[in-house]
């Protein structure tokens, strides 16, 4: 029997997020015959819902001012009400999905499969899926019992977005069903968004980024990165642990919870290449990675790899460049 799959749709300012069509592709890999329902929460969502009918058989519209900001406590309570037990639910593995999905699997009494990057068929009620562990250093096949339904989060970019097709779907207004019984989740009340601070340098505009990660070891070693950046005429950026340690400002952080950069050249120095970091690098720059671990995932996306201790390599590189000038 074909699977019934519900896809939670992220959208902003009337535009559907890229992850929606990626999840259509993921659903197609799960079960090519699956029947797909898009689930749209928000306020004034007509344009969003209409744009989805090309790719989904059904589009559930749940539209109310109460959803103008998505509070996952509220949305989880409603989904548990309106999604039939035993269903498959796909959600993007981002800050909202991580908030919503684990608890949803409990409320729907299904299994939970987080941060999935691939599917490898269904055998005897069990879905074979691909995940990554240890910061992407190893992959693993997992078997997930889907006989009682499952909630699955999908990593952004892991599936190539499906072409918009001609599913000829219909928009179904589910708002009344969703709100029957009132708004759940009242124990968490949204107040406001505090925007990120703007830094002295705008790394989103830099053409050359000299980016430093935890491999730098000590705060004082950051100097050698600054010197290299000066020598090549680039700006210093970094991975998250450097910001967590307060060695550089948040406005220098590249990644899903930092900034998205589009340089021509990106030098990753002592950065392992986690998907959250790589998620912030766009525009296919020329990536050079210096790392002492040949298994670091950064070497799978870099153009050029140097397996060396950066504390030794970087100062030599800087010196040679300065000599040439």
């Amino acid at each position: 029997m074909a699977l019934q799959i519900y896809v939670y749709i992220l959208h902003k300012d009337g535009v559907v997020d890229d992850t929606a069509l990626e999840m259509v592709a993921a659903a197609g890999k799960l079960d090519p015959a699956a029947s797909l329902t898009a689930v749209v929460f928000g306020s004034k969502t007509d344009a969003v819902c209409n744009s989805l009918t090309a790719s989904f058989k059904e589009v559930w519209k749940i539209d109310n001012d109460a959803f103008s900001y998505p509070n996952s406590e509220v949305i989880r309570g409603i989904l548990a009400r309106i999604i039939p037990k035993g269903s498959m639910v796909l959600v993007a593995h981002d800050h909202f999905g991580m908030d919503l999905a684990p608890g949803l699997s409990i409320k729907l009494d299904g299994t939970y499969l987080p941060d999935t990057v691939g599917f490898d068929g269904i055998e005897g009620g069990k879905l074979k899926a691909v995940r990554q562990e240890y910061g992407g250093q190893v992959s693993t096949h997992v078997l997930c019992d889907i006989s009682g339904g499952a909630v699955i989060t999908i990593r952004a970019g892991a599936f190539r977005a499906a072409e918009a097709s001609d599913a000829g779907g219909a928009v179904v207004d589910k708002t009344a069903d969703a709100l029957a019984g009132g708004l759940p989740g009242g124990a968490r009340r949204f107040i406001e968004i505090v925007e990120a601070e703007v830094g002295d340098v705008d790394i989103t505009k830099s053409e050359i980024l000299v980016s430093v990660g935890r491999g730098i070891g000590e705060q004082e070693n950051i100097e050698i990165i600054k010197e290299l950046a000066k020598a090549v005429g680039g700006d210093v950026s970094c991975s998250r642990p450097i910001v967590d340690a307060k060695w550089l400002e948040k406005s220098r952080q590249v990644g899903t919870s930092g900034l998205t950069v589009k340089p021509k050249v990106y030098m990753a120095l002592g950065i392992s290449g986690s998907f959250q970091h790589l998620g912030g690098i766009k525009g296919s720059p020329f990536i050079v990675a210096v790392n002492k671990n040949p298994k670091a995932p950064i070497f799978q996306v870099a153009e050029i790899g140097v397996i060396e201790d950066l504390l030794e390599f970087v100062p030599m590189l800087t010196e040679k460049i300065n000599e040439m000038k």
């Binding site: 684990p102 939970y112 987080p114 995940r131 107040i191 050029i304």
Partner: protein
């Protein structure tokens, strides 16, 4: 404020090259350096800071084998008041749901205002906190990077969302939060601190102590289980520069020049 923090012992990825064993059944564990999961350290630090301001106590709890005692002791050296190890052969091979139901049983034996987990652990799942909250019927927030205790009944919290922005909400206690790195600066634990708690007794609770049905957890009950580990071959891979370190420097400079990497 009675606070419980869930902590896990994991291989330290900053210290280890992770490789797959010859049969692909597991990672090579022989020479691994283990430590407390990075995110959990921030959660424990936050709990200690809240307790120091608001009073109460901090309990750290871990599901694992006897070796997990060392991470409990480390977090007690940081300043946690109590440690509890949840250990039983029936727990082995549990999936996320199994682990959450074991932790739930321990939590229900006490009365906690605040239950903290890390955002994620070594397998990058990020699931235990959200599952626990749903099982306990408590409110939940993930990726928490700020906590302000307003009174004994509610807190104000910040969540990390995309682009370095922060989402601020108010939440009623008791609740479950999963903590993101960077929320604080975890204190350093020296050998002396560890020595001080070396002889503190850490109770071990098994399935029967917790009233957990052994058949409802462990490998047999797991809805999600691993088949194998392998090293992914994504993309075409980098061209690795060869030769002496001087030669690599020369080659890299040529490449950078040709790609506009030197202004």
């Amino acid at each position: 404020m009675e606070i419980l923090v869930c902590v896990k012992r994991v291989p330290d990825t900053a210290e280890n090259e992770i490789s797959v064993n010859s049969s692909g059944s597991d990672i090579e564990r022989g020479d691994l350096v283990y430590s407390v999961n990075e995110w959990d350290n921030y959660a424990v630090e936050e709990a200690i800071q809240i307790r120091d301001k608001a009073g109460g106590s901090v309990t750290v709890v871990s599901v694992g084998d006897a070796d997990s005692e060392e991470v409990l002791r480390r977090e007690m050296a940081m300043g946690a008041d109590k440690g509890v190890l949840l250990s039983d052969s029936a727990f082995e091979g549990s999936d996320g749901k199994g682990l959450a139901s074991i932790l739930k049983a321990e939590i229900e034996k006490g009365k906690y205002d605040l239950i903290l987990t890390g955002t994620q652990a070594d397998d990058g799942a990020g699931q235990i906190g959200g599952m626990l909250a749903a099982m306990l019927n408590l409110p939940y927030a993930s990726l928490v990077n700020r906590i302000e205790v307003l009174d004994g009944k509610k807190i104000k919290l910040g969540r990390e969302i995309a682009g370095g922005n922060q989402e601020i909400s108010e939440m009623d206690l008791p609740c479950v939060l999963s903590i993101q790195t960077g929320i604080n600066e975890p204190r350093y634990v020296g050998i002396r601190g560890i020595r001080k708690v070396a002889s503190v007794e850490i109770p071990v609770h098994g399935a029967s102590d917790l009233g957990v049905n052994p058949g409802s957890v462990g490998k047999a009950a797991a809805g999600v289980s691993r088949v194998d580990y392998y090293v992914p071959a994504l993309g075409k891979g980098a061209e690795l520069l060869e030769g002496s370190i001087e030669e690599k420097v020369e080659k890299l400079i040529e490449l950078l020049k040709s790609k506009g990497g030197i202004k």
